[in-house]
């Protein structure tokens, strides 16, 4: 079981769209995959047409009073299951703060799925918090969408520093370019600069496309509804790259 997290300190950078589409691609050939929507806004849950409700809420999960597996919902796609978001996840930080070894808690919860899933994808709320720390501990790799703007690239540096100084795990940071608009000069320039500067950066950029925004209307991943769309093709290429990168690391 490999655990990936889509994570960004900053919101509105295409994090959830990436989680929803990459999870579908992971499960496409029948590979058992779980996506856990940890963002209280519940956008992934919404995109998969599932009611954002978890019995017992965050308290039940953190306190391990309710079996986590009971909250899992099958999606419309046979190998893809989803752990829905719940508005009460907004208290996750407070609740984690009250338990022992709080940053290990998610890792421990996920270990029960070791035999059930090959991929687990965590979609996290944008912030730097105790929950983020727990996610970074649980994940094998964290996928960080970076919009080619000065502010976004700065937050990537912040995250790198946070992992190195605070979390101290060997989680692999895999940034990728998101919402890229090739028409904008700044995007082109920053993209090239980043590709040169940061060897961790995945080579496939995800274009800024209205089709990605329309996912919220159709409530299905773009890669399922329009597999030939350039953005869908980009997710596909990005997924291949992620798999290769993880394969190289595990060797």
């Amino acid at each position: 079981m490999k655990v990936l997290a889509t994570y960004s300190i900053k919101g509105g950078v295409g994090k959830t769209a990436a989680a929803a589409n990459l999870a579908w691609l992971a499960a496409r050939d029948g590979t058992p995959t779980l996506i856990w929507d940890l963002d209280p806004q519940g956008a992934v849950t919404f995109n998969y047409r599932i009611h954002p409700r978890v019995k017992g809420g965050a308290k039940g999960i953190v306190g391990e009073k309710r079996p986590l597996e009971d909250a899992i919902k099958g999606t419309d796609y046979r190998s893809l299951d989803l752990l829905p978001a719940d508005l009460r996840y907004r208290h996750l930080d407070l609740l984690l703060d009250q338990v022992k070894r709080s940053t290990q808690r998610l890792d421990r919860l996920l270990s029960q799925f070791e035999d059930d899933y090959e991929w687990v994808i965590l979609d996290c709320a944008p912030s730097l918090s105790l929950t983020s720390e727990a996610v970074l501990v649980a994940a094998d790799a964290v996928l960080v969408p970076v919009v080619p703007t000065t502010l976004s690239t700065r937050t990537l540096d912040q995250l790198t520093a946070f992992v190195a100084e605070q979390v101290c795990t060997d989680v692999e940071i895999l940034p990728f370019l998101s919402m890229v608009d090739r028409r904008k000069k700044l995007h082109r320039e920053l993209q090239n600069e980043l590709l040169d500067r940061d060897p961790r950066l995945l080579r496939t950029p995800i274009p800024n496309a209205s089709a990605v925004e329309r996912m919220g209307l159709l409530r299905e991943p773009l890669v399922a509804t329009s597999p030939h769309h350039p953005a869908a093709a980009a997710y596909q290429a990005l997924w291949e790259e992620i798999r290769e990168r993880l394969h190289e690391t595990s060797r």
């Binding site: 029948g30 590979t31 058992p32 998969y48 047409r49 599932i50 009611h51 597996e69 909250a71 899992i72 919902k73 099958g74 419309d76 190998s79 299951d81 035999d115 059930d116 899933y117 090959e118 409530r219």
Partner: protein, 511 residues
Amino acid sequence: MARRSPLVALDVRRDADRVTELLDGYDDVRRDGPDLTVHRALLDTFDWRIRRAGGALSWCDGTLTWRDRATGHTHTVAQEELPRWPDDVVAGPVHDLVADACDVRVLLPRVEVDLTVQRYRLLDDLDKTVVRIDLERGCVADGTPVASLVVRGVRGYDGEHAGLVRRLAEDLDGQTADGEPADIVFAAAGLEPGGYTGELAVSLEPTMAANEAIARTCRHLLQTMRANEDGVIADLDTEFLHDFRVAVRRTRSLLGASKRVLPGPVRDDFRRRFKWLGDVTTPVRDLDVFSLAIPEYADAAARGDLEVLQPLADLVAADQQQAHAALTTALRSQDYADLVSDWSETLEASPTDEETTEATDPIVEVARQRIWRAYRGVQRDGRAIDDDSPSEMLHRLRKDAKKLRYLLEAFGALFDADRTKVAVRELKRLQDNLGAFQDGEVQSQGLRGFAMRIARRPADVDTVMALGVLASHLEQVQDDARAQFAKRFARFDRSGNRALYEGLFSPKAVR
């Protein structure tokens, strides 16, 4: 991969068209893509080990699925071709479940069926799929139609699944959900799942006439032989012959115990003919034992390296082929056909003469006497053995014990079931020791024969040395068994066990 979601199936052979109409009429149910055509094989061993392990194994167009019948959990694995042996299954949870259940038995496609699948989905208020429904229609080999409605839950939507099953059952006039899709196909194919077992499962009443009870048991044993014939001839796996031989030996034991129940000439005739049948199966079984033991031999003598023992494996295989051809000839012979039909007629006719004075006595009484007599035989022969006794005496005791075991298995249920189980368990401990002694001897003799043949040819030095190590290992096994015999027999002959047998079977036990 493990999936946890409920699944039930309804047999809709009679009203498949109505089901289509019904589903098309539901507001919250939609068609799910075009119809599919699939080929499905339902797999199990001849003696239904997958089913007895609580599973249902099916292969469908490149995917092998194990379904836990009780929980509905499924494991699937991509498997290009139908697996024949448990180890043909791609490594993973399905392999482990299949290997644990089947052991040395071959996987047989019990039924194969081509199906057209109409797919539907039940949607909730968000237009999300909450239940999947497949109407599967096709024909089994003889043309009998099969149609099942498979209602498959989506994880986390059990309530919706149960609701739809109820709704369908009502709309289909109280059609009950069977719960197991495979059973619907088995029924259409005229197969009784779990129908065959190598166990001796004959229900007898204590007051039944002895000749009737013995005939009923022997009929069951004859059926077991007949059921295994094809598998023995086709050499599908070693257990067909094993079960066949056990049925023959049980029959011979019952014939031996049928004095004054069956007329003497009839008994003598069939004892002779069943001995012949037992004898013609022995060479193949001995070689089977060898062949099954080779991995164990490799562990004992070549640090697990099978390659070193390959010349031995090749010789065993060649001999097996020859012995199997002779066995096939015997099973296709007129002698065998006559034996089966004559025995069958005899069991129907229940012949008597002036000597069959116990033919109509209650079976419980006749069985008690025979078991007691067999037990006394084991006791007497066992007590006569000391540390210097020749091995023939242990072999005789092994045969005595086997006779007693068969009688206990055939008639034990007529007595106190729990106490009889203990009696069998105690006997089994003794038999294990005697079996180890015998196996050690038979195998080291057999090995010597093979080794001489291997040594005559240019052979790898590692192989020759491994054979030497193996021979002394087998001798050691036999010596160990011999050394432990006195202790094992003393345990069997201890006062508690004697009291158990006396309480159950001695003449004083008669109420």
